[in-house]
């Protein structure tokens, strides 16, 4: 359980986190989503006491992080993939971290196996790929078998197999009743992993709701259609709120009509349809809609790069 109350962080004149309140509950994966410079990493650093809040308060399991007598057994955090001395081996890094809590070497070997670091454990971290660095960070987070797990951009640099592994890991940890809080710039990934979503923009919380609610409230129905008469189908479907985009000579993406309606129209007009795939409303769309509201409500402030340039791939979290 993570509870933030009116949490804020200012760096000089710049406000990175602007009085946010939220709680991250156990037993589910909570996603933390926001554009570049939105304050995600700063918030996570404040949770584990690396940064002191300028105002407000954040507690983990009822206490400030630093007040816990065994912090690594309460909270495991992956904050920065390379928070490791580059000249030290992965095994020695984990051994040094474990020693602070009297965690036995057997557990160190366990997390190395769990995260698939076995073949490189005795190599210096400086030579690690981004993905291996992430795995080491995750191994470190799991060292104390903590009740609360915080992962900042865990899938960054992982290969598809690694991405899937993190997804299963996060869901698995949550299903055991742990609190799982993870940020990711891959919103499709968030849609697959998170049960609950906290969206942050310019240091403020834009949305804090179950992911299904966010998708239902903001996404639009879309479907992919393959037909040999795309123009006829578009004409037949022409109605309020229906728009389409043609990708290939026979491939359309139709927004605003569900698959059943498309099928009915196609049947009525005797148009052959040989692919009809309902597309889930994308979190990206929902997210864009949320942040555009934010821009509207706060148009007196200068728009930030992350929000204005937030189209498509512009939502990547920087370091």
């Amino acid at each position: 359980m993570i509870e933030a109350a009116e949490l804020s962080k200012r760096y000089g004149a710049k406000t990175a986190v602007d009085g946010i309140s939220f709680s991250v509950k156990p037993g589910q994966v909570t996603g933390f989503l926001g554009p570049n410079g939105a304050g995600k990493s700063t918030t996570m650093r404040m949770i584990v006491g690396l940064d002191n809040p300028s105002g407000g308060d954040v507690r983990v399991n009822g206490k400030h992080y630093a007040q816990h007598s065994a912090p690594l057994r309460e909270v495991g955090a992956l904050l920065d993939a390379k928070a490791v001395h580059t000249k030290r081996t992965a095994y020695n890094h984990l051994r040094a971290m474990a020693a602070t809590h009297g965690i036995p070497n057997s557990r160190v070997k366990e997390v190395i196996e769990m995260t698939g670091l076995g073949p490189v454990a005795k190599k210096r971290v400086g030579g690690f790929s981004l993905g291996m660095g992430q795995r080491l960070g995750i191994a470190c987070a799991l060292l104390g078998d903590p009740h609360t797990v915080i992962l900042d951009e865990p899938v960054n640099g992982l290969d598809p197999e690694g991405v899937q592994w993190v997804r299963h890991l996060a869901k698995g940890l949550a299903s055991e009743g742990r609190t799982v809080f993870l940020s990711s710039h891959l919103m499709s990934e968030m849609a697959l992993t998170a049960d609950h979503l906290i969206v942050i923009g310019r240091g403020r919380i834009i949305a804090d709701a179950p992911i299904k609610e966010i998708l239902a409230g903001h996404g639009q129905t879309r479907a992919r259609v393959r037909t040999d008469r795309p123009a006829d189908l578009i004409r037949a479907l022409a109605a309020d709120g229906v728009s389409s985009q043609q990708f290939e000579s026979d491939l359309l993406e139709i927004t605003g009509a569900d698959s059943r309606r498309i099928a009915e129209v196609a049947l009525n007009h005797q148009i052959l349809v040989y692919e009809l795939t309902p597309l889930q409303a994308s979190l990206e769309d929902a997210y864009m809609q949320l942040t555009s509201d934010e821009v509207e409500y706060h148009s007196h402030t200068l728009p930030q790069a992350g929000v204005t340039a937030g189209g498509g791939a512009g939502l990547q979290e920087g370091k």
């Binding site: 584990v48 690396l50 940064d51 309460e74 955090a77 001395h85 000249k87 040094a96 769990m114």
Partner: protein, 296 residues
Amino acid sequence: MAHTATAPSPQGTTSHRRPTSGSGVNFARVLKSEWIKVTTVPSTMILLSITLVVMIGLSALFAWSMATSQASAESFTSSDPEIAAQLAATDYGEMALTAPSAGIIFGQLLIASLAVVLIASEWGTGMIRSTMVAVPKRIPALLAKNLIIAAIAFVVGAGAAFISYFVAQPLLAPEDIDFAITTDGVLLSIVNTGSVLALMAVIAMSIGALLRNTAGGVVTAIGLLMVLPIIVQIFSGLADWIPDAARFLPSSAGEAMVAVTTVEDGLTQWQGALVLGGWALVLLVLSLIVTKKRDV
């Protein structure tokens, strides 16, 4: 405490009991962690080996120069009485007593560099975030690291001086200026070679923690230990208080600590220890306060 009983289950993810009091952070554990950290980076062993070799080498060189000076002083006696009288006033035998600690000049620079590297590289590599997340109270981690580098510096310094004593004797023996380890002040000088390096290490590590930058830390530490005394020397003629104050520089205090006989107007061994200890304490406390308060 029965912390093994609360150790994570083999699967690691099947259950999670609440942490118990025996499973937390304590100073002994932080000390062990810092020991692992210090001994698992290659720079530690490289710099310590260099320090040992350089210190013993310098002592040998110093002993050899004492012996040759003594020899030439004796040969001069018959030829030129005036110079001979002057040379006779120089007691090479007494100067040779400081041979074991002669390597301290460069030893302190090397140990200071190591101390800066050990702490500042944590910021340089991002390791400090892992350290501070594991030990969020921060002060125990920094204290443990200081304690370990101080202990290592003491062992290396005293060890080098001890070995140097035995290396120097055969070099001094031909001129009959070799001496017993039990000679007044010699053993204290050998032990204090270690003490000086230990205190210098704390000073340098505190500088490294304050600056959080390896290059800046090394330059500052060497500036304080080596360049500042030279600058003070240059300006010492300008005012009477300058040479007075110069005695309280870390390098002068260190020299006083390893001296076998106290120089006129100089600090005694114990006064030197107090001054150098004061420098170390003030900088250490400052670095602890700043590290505790600042964001990582």
